[in-house]
Symmetry: C2
Subunit: 433 residues, 2 copies
């Protein structure tokens, strides 16, 4: 699977100004995305500090050779689907070469500097054409928190610990960080009303999720065995699965969420490569003694040993009131990817076990990641108990659900003793009427 190597060395330093100690993008991270500068077209770039290295330009200038060159060539169009389809070894050769190019001992710094763009003057786009998007439900504490609101004595359904629950989401409305989210109109029925009505959602919520990019695809009818599943991972991002709770409550029986979720989904636009997350891999922590063993098709000793991730997650809120009083973003919750009940490999294997084909650039999401503590809720539905217990903000404002003008900011960071921390970059958006 994903081994530690010299690119993870905490002592590595970059010649790019501002990269060393950068919260998200030090030289140990090197995520890839699609950007455009004021004058240029959409093209691949790699984030380093607050700069973006232009990959097609660096390729044309002759900085890649051998396998790394093959990889860079797949990243020369306006989307990264072909790059995502690479074998991990090829992708890693590219990552190693990038690490070399951006290290302090690099003799070609001057030539490379020409291919750097200030990220504040660039726009980030969706990194791939997303064929299909699947949302799982691996956050066991979220499932329990939500289940408790309906079934206090029996919050988890009988299938939860046996089968990874998931459903297909909408790919057309996935947008990169920064695009405003329009409050959806829809049908809902108030508990005290006889009939439903139509209007703007009154219970707009966020959901904190980990996004998983599919790397290589599989053929229709060909399942991916659990021990091979890591080879099909293309990368990671943050996701805000905006949810309209009133629309959801009325429409979701019996076929699941639909318009309550498909009006927009925000993702962080940088693809964090699986190799960059190697230091933050951990043994599967969320199963507790007494839980059923996964069925054999979902069992793998190596996946059990290092298939999960320890990545810190945070949710911040900026309201019009906080902004006008110049108060800091309010931290709504912290959480962690370790609360996933199933690993990314288990999700890939389960998704394909019946023959369903995944394609490079498909997106899978973890489902809402909440922790066991009340400060670790990944949605307002949980934090405010469905609006019953409002949050009081330092501005004096109250929130049961999101209001127009609110901005939700998600943050993710891998932190481990002896290693350089890395982050996922921005995943934020404001709500508009």
């Amino acid at each position: 699977m994903f081994e530690l190597d010299p690119t993870h060395d905490a002592s590595l330093r970059s010649w790019v100004p501002g990269a060393n100690g950068h919260r998200d993008f030090p030289i140990q991270n090197l995520p890839i995305g699609i950007f455009s500068s004021a004058a240029g077209t959409q093209r691949a770039g790699v984030a380093i500090g607050d700069q973006i290295l232009d990959i097609p330009a660096t390729l044309t200038a002759g900085f890649f050779s051998g396998i790394a060159r093959l990889a860079a060539e797949t990243a020369s169009g306006s989307s990264l689907n072909a790059f995502l389809g690479l074998d991990p070894e090829v992708r890693n050769a590219f990552r190693h070469r990038l690490s070399e190019l951006l290290q302090t001992n690099q003799p070609d710094q001057d030539k490379l500097t020409r291919h750097l763009h200030d990220s504040t003057s660039c726009q980030l786009h969706l990194p791939a054409v997303i064929g299909d998007y699947t949302d799982f439900y691996t956050g066991i504490h979220h499932a329990e928190n939500v289940g408790k609101q309906f079934r206090p004595d029996n919050p988890l359904l009988p299938n939860y610990k046996h089968v990874p629950i998931g459903y297909h989401g909408r790919s057309s409305s996935i947008v990169p960080s920064g695009i405003p989210i329009r409050r959806p109109q829809g049908q809902y029925k108030a508990p005290d009303k006889e009939e439903p009505s139509f209007g703007p959602s009154q219970r707009l919520d966020y959901e904190l999720e980990l996004g998983i990019w599919i790397g290589k695809g599989n053929e229709l009818g060909q399942a991916i065995p659990i021990d091979q599943a890591w080879r099909y991972l293309g990368g990671f991002c943050l996701m805000n699965d905006w949810s309209a709770r009133d629309i959801q409550a009325w429409e979701y029986q019996p076929l699941g969420p639909f318009l309550a979720k498909n009006f927009s989904t925000t993702i962080s636009p940088w693809i964090i490569l699986p190799e960059a997350l190697a230091p933050f891999r951990i043994a599967q922590p969320s199963r507790t003694p007494g839980d059923p063993s996964p069925l054999p098709y979902l069992q793998s000793p190596s996946d059990q040993k290092q298939g999960a991730f320890d990545i810190r997650l945070e949710i911040f809120l900026v309201t019009p009131g906080l902004k006008s009083k110049k108060l800091s973003p309010y931290r709504l919750a912290q959480s962690n990817t370790r609360y996933m009940y199933w690993t990314a490999s288990q999700l890939i294997t389960h998704h394909t076990c019946g023959g369903c084909n995944l394609r490079s650039g498909d997106l899978i999401a973890s489902g809402t990641l909440s922790g066991p503590d009340a400060t670790e809720c990944g949605s307002l539905l949980e934090t405010t108990l469905g609006g019953q217990k409002p949050i009081l903000l330092p501005s004096g404002e109250e929130r049961r659900f999101l209001e127009d003008g609110d901005e939700v900011i998600l943050h993710a960071q891998g932190v481990r003793q002896g290693f350089q921390s890395i982050g996922f970059g921005p995943c934020s958006a404001s709500v508009t009427a």
Copy 2:
């Protein structure tokens, strides 16, 4: 909306041998698809009898001009997404020109004959790159039949007659007619067992559905008003939404069907243009007195008057036993698109009412279309009451669910007094181990 015009005249005849009186593709139909002949690439063609008119070749030969030429130019690649995105008026100019070219009075028959291909020597492909696929649940008799198995006294959920129920399906595994369907493996739990197990589905089923191609798309955040929705219709097809009932029963709570459906979905590859179905439009028949009025955003007098379709549907089964005894395909059921509780326009408007964007080439499905009678069930789940009441075939075989080697054939035909009948062409596939 869609008006009757001279292209619908029952007396129109074609010079193409075999076209007149053809069950599916007389000159009044003229569906478009993507085909390849032995030597050629994938390209657009129009079905006429048992022949296919090569559109790019006909275009190059100068047979289109003006608006019809603009339309034909959008159909010159390997998929019809751009063609689907045309305004109805442009698409209809193309249809009118095709009708002229293929009528008996056409002076250029000899030149056009060169661009005809025998359909039996051609392969049909998916006509478009399907961005997103949405499956609705508009078959009210199906919803009642299935609901009765769980809740005999209260088969329909409270939301059913207010909100069009739908969910997102899998686009990657949609295949054209003729591709064998592999029986999926998956997790299921027998009612008498404590624990789930993993293996080939024992309860494989078909579902008879109408497919709706999205024509023009809408921008994210921009709802499509009900009176405009017909302009976003791109065409129609048949769909078999293969379903593994044992996997479905175990996985579907609380987020809906997932692996039970995403292993494969079969569609008929010809796009039946909305204009070709004009003679078969009818007033919305499925609402009964006492049903709630649709909320205003789903109400339109013109849609209510002619938004539904009278298209006869049939399901046939061919088993190894029937084949070896040279017996005819067994008709499992007949049904009709009139059993849709919501019109295609209502589905489009509802889908976009919260801002969700549809793209040209997206596919929407009606959900299983069953009638009120026991001979009108669109799935085996209904026909055999979940396997309790097996079907006895003339070969002596019994069927509760599908077995390996079984072939399911769907058929659709518009029939109306005074008009030429038209069909949708083949939608069939065999089940393999």
